[in-house]
């Protein structure tokens, strides 16, 4: 769908698992849901967050692939590994800063969220965005998104000195131009 973008708003996620179940219905990865739903500390918070592929401008998974199996289309969608090429080495799994690719050991193939390519390429919305009851996952034009939300979504993530620009936008609590991700700091904080 031309001009449509994917928006993720974790603060609106209610953890209902609709997206996870709908994800398996998609034709390009039938039966295997490619969306990850994380619950945090359930004792203290009801917060949950869905993780879809962010479709990086310069995808680390594809850059790390030794078999040239991961390709980004002209529309910016990073596709699952090509079956004849993928050697299931898991380099992409380790390289992805968002933890998206999953290696299907029984198929010896890496599969990842490809924005339900069979649907989005034919003018339909991705499965997860069609079922999300709280619009935590939206597939709309940026103009529509601006009407629906006051926050400005970001698509730039900073991991230390590494800046990753993505096709998918994310609403983050404090806004700003980019989201700083300090993994080590957050891990230490969790341990405390």
């Amino acid at each position: 769908m031309h001009g449509f973008e994917f928006f993720v708003d974790p603060s609106r996620c209610i953890g209902c698992q609709s997206c996870v179940n709908a994800g398996g219905e998609c034709g390009t990865h039938r039966g295997v849901s490619m969306i990850q739903l994380d619950y945090f500390d359930r004792e203290w918070t009801t917060a949950s967050t869905p993780t879809v592929c962010m479709h990086c401008e310069d995808p680390a998974c594809a850059q790390a692939c030794p078999a040239d199996a991961i390709k980004k289309g002209e529309d910016g969608v990073v596709r699952s590994a090509l079956k004849p090429r993928c050697i299931a080495c898991s380099n992409c799994v380790l390289a992805c800063p968002f933890g998206v690719p999953k290696v299907q050991i029984e198929m010896e193939l890496m599969m990842k969220c490809d924005m339900c390519y069979d649907r989005t390429s034919a003018g339909l919305r991705p499965m997860c965005a069609t079922v999300c009851p709280s619009q935590a996952l939206m597939y709309v034009t940026p103009a529509e998104a601006a009407q629906l939300r006051r926050d400005k979504p970001v698509n730039t993530f900073r991991f230390g000195n590494q800046e990753v620009k993505t096709k998918v936008f994310m609403y983050v609590p404090h806004g700003g131009e980019a989201l700083e991700v300090d993994v080590v700091h957050d891990m230490w904080r969790l341990e405390e």
């Binding site: 310069d58 995808p59 991961i70 390709k71 980004k72 000195n161 590494q162 990753v164």
Partner: protein, 178 residues
Amino acid sequence: MSENKSHCPKEERLWREEFSVSSSEQAYVERRQFGKFLVLTSGAMFAGQVWLMAKDWIAKTKAIVWPRKEVANEGDLDVGAAKVFQYPGPNDDCLLVRVNETKYVAYSQKCTHLSCAVIYSAQKKVMECPCHNGYFSIEDGHVIQGPPPRPLPRVELEASGGKLIATGMSVFGEGEAH
């Protein structure tokens, strides 16, 4: 990752283009690249042709000394029968054929099409390649029908003292074979 690129501007290696992450880029060929490919491949083909010509020319200028080899005794073969012998090397199979009471001929047994072993058909009086039905004349080895592109090399025979002796090879329409 965009940072990485700014560190090494224009240092994109060719393999990065060939195995690009972007599916549109990997199929993209620059005009200059295509030109280079054309010039290099046609240059290589030209060099190969020159090499083949030179090899051929050198082989032509060298006088070949054919060995003399006793093939069979006259009268060993019945009319219409054939015998395999090796000439000029130990791996070059040839076929000696007794066409009639007085006439013996011999040809290389290697079909000029795909090197199948040629046999003598006494019924049709031709050299026949059973692989693809190639027929060669028993008179001079020229192609009568079928896929073979060149005549069958003929072994020159000499009869002396009741023995048949191979003295050289020739190809129909060419003079001496090489």
